[in-house]
């Protein structure tokens, strides 16, 4: 029974990471109808930036918040400079640009930092925490905590601030937003910035577990797709919840179903995607697309 709780908590921790990346994907998808395939690589690059700062002697939390700021700026700049020229072009054109971005980021990271895995520090103490008779890793609990804080911040931002309202409006209805004087292009850029920031948090929380290397986020991106599919690509909250569920399922299946070793763990993600798509493509919380004829 204790193993069950441990796996659930550990699953929630990784699930929070999947959910964060899924959230970033959904944020951009809602505003642009484009899935940013480069989201994982952007997060990976941010994590390397953090590593560089820490290596230069910057204390952890300074490096952490510094990376958040740098990632926000980076995401914003990428949207304004790389994505803007193809903003109004067919969706597949934008997809190819995202793939190009993915490939560039991965390659440059490998070039600057090499493909050798590096350890990445966790801000949480290495000794485990006892709750009752169950032992939990401090990093697992810490990652859950950090994820929750980030999500709370985002929720409050979108719900209660004018800028957040303007961003929601720009995502839903750019034409009407312009009629309200909203600079839709910049709203999009800020959206990318926030998504990059969320991705950076996910990267920094996962790196201590899987070690830092340029291909670190590839598998996580796939889990993020599964999470967003499960929760619904039109629902930010759903994407996060989807992530938590996927994380827990992955861990429980890995523990209790014997023939699913680490090799076939990815199959769990794929199975989730396919099952959801067969039964309810819009996900648990997504809205089915309604087309006016």
């Amino acid at each position: 029974m204790e193993i069950f709780f441990q796996q659930v908590v550990s699953g929630l921790a990784t699930g929070g990471i999947y959910g964060s990346v899924a959230l970033a994907l959904v944020m951009i998808y809602q505003a642009t109808d484009v899935v940013n395939y480069a989201q994982g690589e952007m997060a990976m690059f941010s994590t390397y930036l953090a590593w560089t700062l820490m290596n230069a002697g910057v204390p952890y939390w300074w490096a952490f918040f510094g990376t958040l700021v740098l990632s926000f700026v980076g995401g914003l700049v990428i949207e304004r400079i790389v994505i803007r020229p193809v903003e109004n072009k067919p969706i597949l054109t934008i997809v190819i640009v995202c793939i190009g971005l993915l490939v560039i980021l991965n390659s440059v990271a490998g070039w600057i930092y090499s493909y050798i895995q590096k350890p990445f520090p966790s801000p949480f103490p290495p000794k485990p925490i006892m709750l009752g008779t169950v032992v939990f890793g401090a990093h697992d609990l810490g990652a859950i905590g950090v994820t929750l804080v980030v999500l709370a911040f985002l929720y409050a931002f979108f719900r209660f601030t004018t800028l957040g309202l303007a961003m929601r409006a720009a995502a839903q209805n750019p034409t009407s937003s312009r009629l309200c004087g909203i600079r839709v292009g910049w709203m999009l850029a800020i959206g990318w910035g926030l998504a990059a920031m969320v991705g950076a948090v996910a990267g920094m929380m996962v790196a201590p577990i899987v070690f830092l290397d340029p291909n670190m986020m590839a598998g996580i991106l796939i889990y993020a797709f599964a999470s967003a599919t499960l929760g619904g690509f039109t629902s930010p909250g759903g994407a996060v919840l989807g992530g938590l569920i996927v994380g827990v399922i992955e861990n429980l299946v890995g523990t209790y179903v014997s023939f699913i070793g680490t090799e076939l763990k990815l199959t769990v993600a794929l199975a989730v995607i396919l099952i959801v798509l067969v039964f309810k493509p819009s996900g648990l919380f997504g809205r089915a697309a309604v087309h006016r004829v």
């Binding site: 109808d33 072009k89 190819i96 490939v103 199959t267």
Partner: protein, 320 residues
Amino acid sequence: MSPRVRYVVLVAVLAIALALPFLVSNFRVFQFTQVAVYAIALLGLNMLTGYNGQISLGHGAFYALGAYTTAIMIDRWDVPYPLTIVTAGVLCLIAGFLFGIPALRLEGLYLALATFALALAIPQILKYFEHWTGGSQGIVLSKPNPPWGLPLSPDQWLYFFTLAVLLVLFVLARNLLAGRTGRAIVAIRDNPIAAQAMGVNTALYKSLTFGVSAAYTGVAGALSAIVIAFVAPDAFNVFLSITFLTGVVIGGLASISGAIFGALFIQFVPNWAQEISKAAPWAIYGIFLIGFMYAMPFGIAGAIRRVAARAALRGTAARA
């Protein structure tokens, strides 16, 4: 472009293509054979995504199915390779059609996700059934010799063989897409409800398109197995499917010539990228991708179309 100009261009291109194997090294001939193979695969995908609007991130699966069908038939039962190609095509036609049926319920992003999941699973499935597929080691084949004692090297023969298959398939595709079927397919892409209201059996056409598209890509896979003389699971990973989609978009959606441009791009640009930068070749490739999309958002064929259209407009304005 006026029919006369188009005809001249076609003949010129064909002449070059026929002369090519005698002008360049064997390795280059091999590369151009790959281009032809990719072009067939891209035409298949373009039919589905460009003309019919169904996005597939999983066509590598059909490519793999075709390749392994051929490899297994040759390796185990010594089937003559032309027959394996036909078999691969038929098998993929059926598989594509069957996959197309549940895919009917999925749109845009969701179809992309489903096909993406399929593409991800392929290498693992191939390794799992190692009794048939030879597992991670794959299957090794031998390159066929030219028949009837023709004075060609095996590479040259395969080039002409592939070229012949390509021409047949391209002509077939052109006739299909230019006629009623093509119009129905495009109508479904542009406005499925209106198409249905006009009596087009949307479900049937969509599944059929999936089948035909898969068949083309399967044939390409079969050819690639023969040309490369080797199949292994890791060659058919998700990156292959992404490369196909890239090729289709860069070449130009809803365009037959686009398949050739796209094939040239995905065959040669990675090599150029490596020549430009040994340290980060994929970064250069990515820059090429982004650059092409900035300069030609509708693909190479799309850009040519626009130039031709603008020239035609100026022509009519001048005559007016």
